[in-house]
Symmetry: C2
Subunit: 163 residues, 2 copies
DNA sequence: TATTGTTATACTCTATAACTATA
DNA sequence: TATAGTTATAGAGTATAACAATA
């Protein structure tokens, strides 16, 4: 499922395995923790950024690096849960502002605690100084050579079947 | 597509973003680099471990943490490319040994160079001492609290439609 | 003409279920 | 009965295409 080898026999350190494995495990922990209050990671992400400022679906999609169609279903879920509402933008009648409800704001505060807690727990085993060092080095990597993905080839798709 | 926030406004360090983003970017680079010699990461993984010892599909699936059905298509791809062959096991007539061809061995050597090179490149920007520190801390994380995924709920599926 | 949000749907990936042949 | 490998296919996730309203 994760695809890169656990590599007991590898000679070089296997960065792919280290990053894939840790990010995968953290993701499962995060999903499980957020599921307890009925959220997905995406819902949390949208909720938090919609709370910071008046933002359209488009803007939130860009921030969270999602497709606009993914944003539609995410906002649908937030609306159905009563955590956010679509409001027409006052400046652009095509656009919809994602407005967080009072209940949504409460849930966002709680979900942020959960997210921080899961991160906390993951880093807890580091001895005092190592934690800061680790985060500093991870940031260096994320902002350096591993900042921008290389684009895969566009998949090429048949035109839609009418129905 | 990656789902966790880039978070310029977040107060706590966002470990989810750091791990998701870096692993995602590294994966795209690895896929692009291996694609140049016609391999996927999975094909490389199977090739390398099949070369180390006589191994069945089942054993290789466990090592690479893949489903056995995923292994079938991976070995199909290796066979079609002339890099490996299925040979009956001498001890268990149900099992198939994945035997790497001479061409497959050459490709495996090359793909291992590619993998190491991509890792090398990613770590290259670290100043001398930091690289070892980083790998040590990543290993600590991967073997510690982020070693085992929590199981999501089983999806529950309809019986197969006969056809 | 271009863009926002929407619906419908195609595609990829992965894993379950069912099957065959062995054990 | 249980297991290795296979086939068929269900389902999740995601992105493209087409469309309606508006810019």
């Amino acid at each position: 499922m994760t695809a890169m080898t656990p590599a007991p026999t590898r000679t070089r350190p296997d960065l792919s395995y280290l990053l894939d494995h840790t990010s995968h495990v953290l993701r499962t922990r995060m999903a499980a923790a957020l599921a307890e209050i009925g959220l997905t990671a995406r819902m949390h992400c949208v909720l938090v950024h919609a709370l910071e400022a008046e933002r359209t679906q488009n803007q939130l999609a860009e921030i969270g690096d999602m497709d606009k169609t993914t944003m539609v279903v995410t906002v649908d879920a937030l609306e159905k849960a009563g955590l956010a509402e679509r409001r027409p933008s006052s400046t652009d009648r095509r656009a919809r502002i994602v407005a967080v409800t009072p209940e949504g704001a409460k849930v966002a505060a709680r979900s942020q605690e959960i997210v921080d807690g899961v991160h906390e727990e993951a880093l807890a085993s580091f001895p005092p100084g190592d934690r800061e060092v680790f985060l500093r080095l991870m940031n260096h990597l994320a902002q350096g050579h591993l900042s921008t993905p290389v684009a895969g080839p566009a998949p090429a798709r048949r035109p839609r079947q009418r129905g």
